[in-house]
C-alpha cells in the first residue's frame, strides 16, 4: 500500500475522494482539490511568508511599498476626516513597525479562506478556483499587496464579506450593505469594481438583490460627488505601464509574462461563453483604470489571473494528440510561472528602505536639531519619500500621489547641471535637507545632476551610514 510523500494518506482512500482533476488524472492534483485550505495555506506561506522571513533575518524593514509608509505616516496624527486610521494609529503605538507585518498577512490569509468559502457556496468550479488562487498568490503584484499595508487588501476583505452575507437566505443578507458601503469609501475604482460585481451577481442569480445594488450605487454617488473620492489612491511610485504590468521587465509588482500569455489564451477561448461575459467588462474597466493610474494594477492583475486560469483550463482540459507533449507543456508553463516569481522574490531586497536607511533616518533629527527648522522639508527620490517621511518624521518635498505638477521640479533637481536651476527650487520650497540613499547613489548619474551638485559649498554632509547620506542645504 503506497502513501503520498510527506503525507500519511492512503492512496486507496484518495481515489474515493469526490473531487477529481479534469486537467490531469493525477493523485497530486486530486489531493489539492480535496484539501484546498491546506494547499492555499502552504502556497501562501512559501511565496509570501518565507521572503518576509528572509528580509527579517537580514535586518531590513519588512514593509517595502511606499503605500505602507504613507499609511503609517498619516496614521500618526488622526483627525475626524481620517477616522479610519485609528486602528493603525493604535497598532503603531503598540507594535514595532516590523511586527505590524502580521496585520496584512492575517488579512490576506483571511481573505483567501473567505474566498474559498464563497466559491464553495456559489458552486464555482473548484479546479478553476484553485488555478485562479494559485496564479494570484504567486503573482508579484499580489505579493506586493498582501505583504504590505495596502488599502486594496481591506477592500477585498470587505467585498468578500459582503458577498458571503449576500448568500444568506434570510434578511441577514441586507447586512452585506455594511461591508459594501465601507468598501466604497476609499476610491472610485474600487467602488466601480463593487458595482460591477453586484451587477454580475444580479444578472446571473435568480434572486434579484436590486435594493442592495441601488443603495450601494447611491453610496458611491454620494462619495464621489460630496466627498470627491479620488479615482485611485496613489500612485505611490513613479513607474512605466509595461514594466509595472509585467514583472519580468523590472517592475515593482505586476504579473509574469506567462500569466499575460495564458490570460490572452483565456480571453481568446472564452469570449463565446455567456457565463464569462461579465469578466470581459471587468477586463475593459481594469485596463482603462490601469492606463489612467498605475496603482489600479491590482484589479487588472486579479482579472488577468482569472483569465490565465481559464486559459490553463482550456489548454490542458482538452485531449492532446501527444499526451507526453501535454505534460511537458504543462511542466514548462509551471516552471515559467514559478521562475518569474522567484526572479521577482530575488529582487525584493532592492525595494523599500534598507537597514541603513532606517537607522540613519531615525537618528537624523538629533543631528539636525538647531540646524534646520521643523517645518523644513526633505528631498529624496520620489519613491523613497514615504519611508523617508515616516522614519524621519519630516515632510517630504514631493509625494508621487499628489502635487503632480511638482514632478517637473523633481526631475530638474535630479538631473540639472546648473545650480541656477536647482537652488531657486530648493529655496522656494523650504527644502533644506537632502537624503541620498544607497539606491539613489546607484541609480543617479555621478557626473551630473544632484550628486554632482552636492560638491557645491552650500551643501554640507552631516551624517552617513554605509552608502546612505544626509546633507543640509544652506
Amino acid at each position: 500500500m503506497t502513501t503520498l510523500p510527506f503525507m500519511n494518506v492512503n492512496v486507496k482512500l484518495l481515489m474515493k475522494m469526490k473531487n477529481k482533476s479534469l486537467l490531469f488524472n493525477n493523485k497530486y492534483f486530486n489531493y489539492i482539490l480535496n484539501y484546498p485550505y491546506l494547499y492555499i495555506t502552504l502556497l501562501f506561506f512559501i511565496f509570501n511568508v518565507i521572503p518576509i522571513l528572509i528580509n527579517l533575518f537580514s535586518g531590513k524593514p519588512l514593509f517595502i511599498s511606499g503605500e505602507s509608509y504613507y499609511h503609517l505616516y498619516f496614521a500618526q496624527e488622526v483627525t475626524w476626516q481620517t477616522f479610519y486610521y485609528y486602528p493603525l494609529n493604535l497598532l503603531d503605538k503598540l507594535l514595532s513597525v516590523n511586527l505590524m507585518i502580521i496585520v496584512p498577512l492575517l488579512l490576506s490569509l483571511t481573505s483567501l479562506y473567505l474566498y474559498l468559502w464563497l466559491a464553495k457556496k456559489k458552486n464555482f468550479s473548484l479546479e478553476l478556483t484553485m488555478l485562479f488562487l494559485t496564479i494570484l498568490i504567486i503573482s508579484p503584484s499580489i505579493f506586493f499587496n498582501l505583504t504590505n499595508l495596502s488599502i486594496h487588501l481591506l477592500i477585498v476583505l470587505l467585498t468578500i464579506c459582503g458577498f458571503l452575507l449576500l448568500c444568506k437566505e434570510s434578511r441577514l443578507r441586507y447586512f452585506s450593505l455594511i461591508p459594501f458601503i465601507l468598501a466604497t469609501v476609499f476610491d472610485l475604482t474600487s467602488s466601480i469594481v463593487i458595482i460591477l460585481l453586484l451587477s454580475a451577481e444580479i444578472y446571473f442569480n435568480k434572486r434579484k438583490n436590486y435594493a442592495i445594488l441601488i443603495i450601494t450605487f447611491i453610496a458611491v454617488l454620494i462619495n464621489a460627488i460630496i466627498f470627491k473620492l479620488p479615482f485611485v489612491i496613489g500612485p505611490f511610485y513613479l513607474g512605466k505601464h509595461l514594466p509595472e504590468l509585467i514583472s519580468d521587465f523590472g517592475g515593482l509588482g505586476g504579473i509574469s509574462f506567462f500569466t499575460v500569455l495564458l490570460a490572452l489564451i483565456g480571453i481568446g477561448t472564452m469570449w463565446k461563453k455567456r457565463s464569462f461575459i461579465s469578466a470581459y467588462f471587468f477586463l475593459l474597466f481594469t485596463i482603462i483604470a490601469f492606463i489612467i493610474n498605475i496603482q489600479a494594477l491590482f484589479y487588472l492583475v486579479i482579472t488577468l489571473s482569472f483569465f490565465a486560469a481559464v486559459g490553463i483550463k482550456s489548454i490542458f482540459q482538452r485531449k492532446w494528440t501527444l499526451n507526453s507533449l501535454k505534460k511537458f507543456t504543462f511542466f514548462i508553463v509551471t516552471l515559467g510561472l514559478i521562475f518569474s516569481t522567484l526572479a521577482y522574490l530575488d529582487r525584493i531586497d532592492e525595494f523599500g528602505p534598507s537597514k541603513e536607511d532606517q537607522q540613519l533616518l531615525t537618528l537624523m533629527e538629533e543631528e539636525l536639531e538647531g540646524t534646520v527648522e521643523d517645518e523644513d522639508k526633505i528631498f529624496s527620490l520620489p519613491e523613497e519619500s514615504y519611508f523617508v517621511s515616516y522614519f524621519s518624521n519630516r515632510d517630504s518635498f514631493y509625494y508621487p500621489h499628489y502635487k503632480k505638477d511638482y514632478r517637473e521640479n523633481v526631475n530638474l533637481i535630479i538631473s540639472s547641471t546648473n545650480i541656477m536651476n536647482t537652488f531657486p527650487i530648493l529655496e522656494g520650497n523650504d527644502v533644506n535637507v537632502i537624503y541620498i540613499s544607497e539606491h539613489s547613489k546607484r541609480t543617479l548619474p555621478s557626473e551630473n545632476g544632484l550628486l554632482f551638485l552636492l560638491r557645491n559649498e552650500r551643501f554640507k554632509l552631516i551624517q552617513s551610514s554605509g552608502n546612505a547620506e544626509v546633507w543640509i542645504f544652506k
Binding site: P243, T321, L325, T329, L335, A343
Partner: protein, 493 residues
C-alpha cells in the same frame, strides 16, 4: 535524368559557387570575428564566454550558446578559419534540398520544386559567403522545422520538428519570427473558416511556451535591466539605420530577385483571395510575420530579406505549377514544352549578376589590417586598452587579444550613445585635452587608425596626435598611436 540527380547537381553547383566566392575573398566580415572568438573560447574551455574581459574593457554577455557549441565541435578536428568558411556555406547550400522538399510537399510537382531549389541556391541576399554568423545555422534549421510541421501527422516529423525548434530556440531569439508566423496562421485560418489541425495547435502552444521560457532563462538580466527596449538591442540611435534601414524598394527587389518576387506576390494574392489553400497560408503567415517584425524593427533587415527570399522561392513553385497548367490549357502548346527553357535563363540572368555584386561587396578587413591588429598582441601590455573604429572592435579582441572601447554588441552597456560619441571624437577631435580625457575615461592606451578609418573619417591622422603626447607606430598603411601623457588636476599637485 531523374529529378533527384538534378537536385544533387543544383546543390553541388551552389556549394561550389559559395565556396569559390568564400575562399577567393580574403578573411571574414567584421562581425564574424565575434563568433570566431566565442567558438574558440568554447573549444578551449568547454563553456560559453559570458564574462568577457576584453569587449568594452570588460562586460557581461547574454546570448544563446548553441551555435558556438555546434561550431566548436568542428573546431576540434578542422582548423577554425576553414570550418568557419566551409560549414556555414554548406548549411546555406543545404537550403536547396530543404526548399525542394517543402515545395514538393506543397505543389506535388518536382520540376517546380527544382526551380524553387535553384532560386534559393542563387538568392543574392544569401551570398554573404564570408560571414560567420548564426543565421547560417538558423535558416536551414527553421526551414527544416517548417517542413516537419507540414508533415506533422507522421510521428517522425513530429520529433524532427521538436528537435529543430529546440535547436532554433537555442540558436537565436529571432526564432520568434516563427511563433509570430504561427499566430498569424491561426488568425488567417480562423478568418477563412479553415480548421487548424489539433496536432498543429498543440505544437504551436508548446513552441510558444517553450521558446518564451528559454528566452527568459538566458536573457533574464537583459529583460530586467533594459525592459521592453531589449528588443532594439541598445543600438545607438546614430547607427540604428545600419541595423534597421528603411526599405528601399529597388534594393530589396534586387536582393530578392525580380522574378521570384513577382511570382510570390501573384501566389500570395491568389492564395488569399481565390484558391485559399491552407498550406500556402502557413507560408504567407511567415511572409507577414517577417514583414511585420522588420517594420517594427524587431529583426534585422538583412535577416528579414533572407527569410522573405526563401519563402518567395518556395511560393515560386506554386506559381510555376499554375503557369504550366495554364500553358497546357491554351492554344500555344509549345509554351508548356519550352517553359523551362524560357524561365531558366531569365532566372539566372536576374540572379547571378546581383549575386556576384553583393558577394564581392562584402566588407572584410584586409590582410595588412589584420596583421596590424596581430601586432597589438605581440607589442602591447596584456591589460592595454585599444581604441579602434566601431566595426573593428572585434578585431581588437580577436587578433589583438586586448580590451576594446566598443564593438557591435551593444546589449547591457550603459550610456551607449555617449560612448559612441566619445569613440567618434577620438578620430575627429582637434582638442588633445578632450582626447586624453576620453582615453582616461575608458582606460585606453592605444588607438588604431586603419586605412578604412582614414577613409570613413576623412583624416590622415587624428589631429591631436601631433606632438609628444602620442608615439606613432606604423604598420603598412595602418598607424597605431600610443598615449604617453595623462591629464593631472592642478590642485592635486
Amino acid at each position: 535524368m531523374q529529378k533527384k540527380y538534378w537536385l544533387m547537381i543544383i546543390f553541388i553547383l551552389v556549394l561550389a559557387t559559395r565556396l569559390i566566392l568564400a575562399f577567393s575573398i580574403p578573411n571574414f566580415t567584421y562581425d564574424s570575428y565575434y563568433n570566431l572568438r566565442h567558438v574558440e573560447y568554447v573549444t578551449e574551455n568547454g563553456f560559453p564566454l559570458y564574462q568577457d574581459g576584453l569587449s568594452y574593457g570588460g562586460r557581461e554577455f547574454a546570448f544563446l550558446p548553441f551555435f558556438n557549441y555546434f561550431m566548436s565541435s568542428f573546431d576540434l578536428f578542422l582548423p577554425l578559419e576553414f570550418a568557419a568558411k566551409f560549414i556555414p556555406n554548406l548549411l546555406l547550400a543545404s537550403l536547396t534540398i530543404i526548399v525542394f522538399f517543402i515545395s514538393r510537399k506543397i505543389t506535388k510537382n518536382e520540376t517546380a520544386s527544382l526551380f524553387s531549389a535553384l532560386i534559393v541556391g542563387f538568392l543574392p541576399i544569401l551570398y554573404n559567403t564570408n560571414s560567420f554568423s548564426v543565421e547560417s545555422l538558423f535558416l536551414p534549421v527553421v526551414f527544416l522545422g517548417i517542413y516537419s510541421f507540414l508533415n506533422i501527422e507522421k510521428r517522425f516529423y513530429l520529433y524532427l520538428y521538436l528537435l529543430t525548434f529546440l535547436i532554433a530556440s537555442l540558436t537565436t531569439p529571432m526564432t520568434i519570427l516563427i511563433l509570430v508566423g504561427f499566430l498569424i496562421y491561426i488568425l488567417l485560418s480562423f478568418l477563412e473558416s479553415k480548421k487548424v489541425k489539433k496536432a498543429e495547435l498543440e505544437l504551436i502552444i508548446f513552441s510558444m511556451f517553450f521558446f518564451i521560457w528559454l528566452q527568459f532563462l538566458f536573457f533574464k538580466d537583459v529583460f530586467l535591466n533594459e525592459g521592453i527596449s531589449f528588443v532594439w538591442r541598445n543600438v545607438p540611435t546614430q547607427i540604428i539605420q545600419l541595423y534597421f534601414p528603411k526599405f528601399t524598394i529597388i534594393g530589396s527587389i534586387i536582393l530578392l530577385s525580380f522574378i521570384p518576387l513577382l511570382a510570390g506576390i501573384h501566389t500570395v494574392y491568389r492564395s488569399l483571395f481565390t484558391v485559399k489553400r491552407q498550406k500556402i497560408f502557413l507560408l504567407i503567415s511567415f511572409v507577414l510575420s517577417t514583414t511585420l517584425l522588420a517594420w517594427l524593427r524587431l529583426i534585422e533587415f538583412k535577416l528579414a530579406l533572407a527569410f522573405l527570399g526563401i519563402i518567395l522561392a518556395i511560393l515560386f513553385a506554386s506559381f510555376y505549377k499554375e503557369m504550366a497548367n495554364y500553358a497546357s490549357k491554351i492554344k500555344f502548346v509549345w509554351l508548356k514544352k519550352y517553359l523551362n527553357y524560357i524561365i531558366l535563363p531569365i532566372l539566372l540572368i536576374t540572379m547571378i549578376i546581383p549575386l556576384l555584386d553583393y558577394s564581392l561587396q562584402q566588407e572584410t578587413p584586409s590582410n595588412e589590417e589584420i596583421e596590424a591588429f596581430q601586432w597589438l598582441k605581440e607589442n602591447t601590455p596584456p591589460d592595454a586598452g585599444v581604441a579602434s573604429m566601431l566595426k573593428e572592435g572585434h578585431l581588437v579582441s580577436y587578433y589583438g587579444e586586448r580590451k576594446n572601447i566598443m564593438d557591435v554588441n551593444f546589449n547591457l552597456i550603459p550610456n551607449i550613445e555617449e560612448r559612441f560619441n566619445n569613440l567618434n571624437s577620438l578620430f575627429t577631435t582637434k582638442l588633445q585635452t578632450h582626447a586624453l580625457d576620453v582615453f582616461e575615461k575608458y582606460d585606453l592606451d592605444y588607438i588604431v587608425v586603419t586605412p578604412s578609418a582614414k577613409e570613413i573619417y576623412k583624416i590622415r591622422r587624428p589631429p591631436y596626435t601631433k606632438g609628444r603626447c602620442f608615439e606613432k607606430f606604423v604598420y603598412d598603411n595602418t598607424t597605431i598611436y600610443e598615449r604617453k601623457c595623462e591629464i593631472t588636476d592642478e590642485n592635486e599637485k
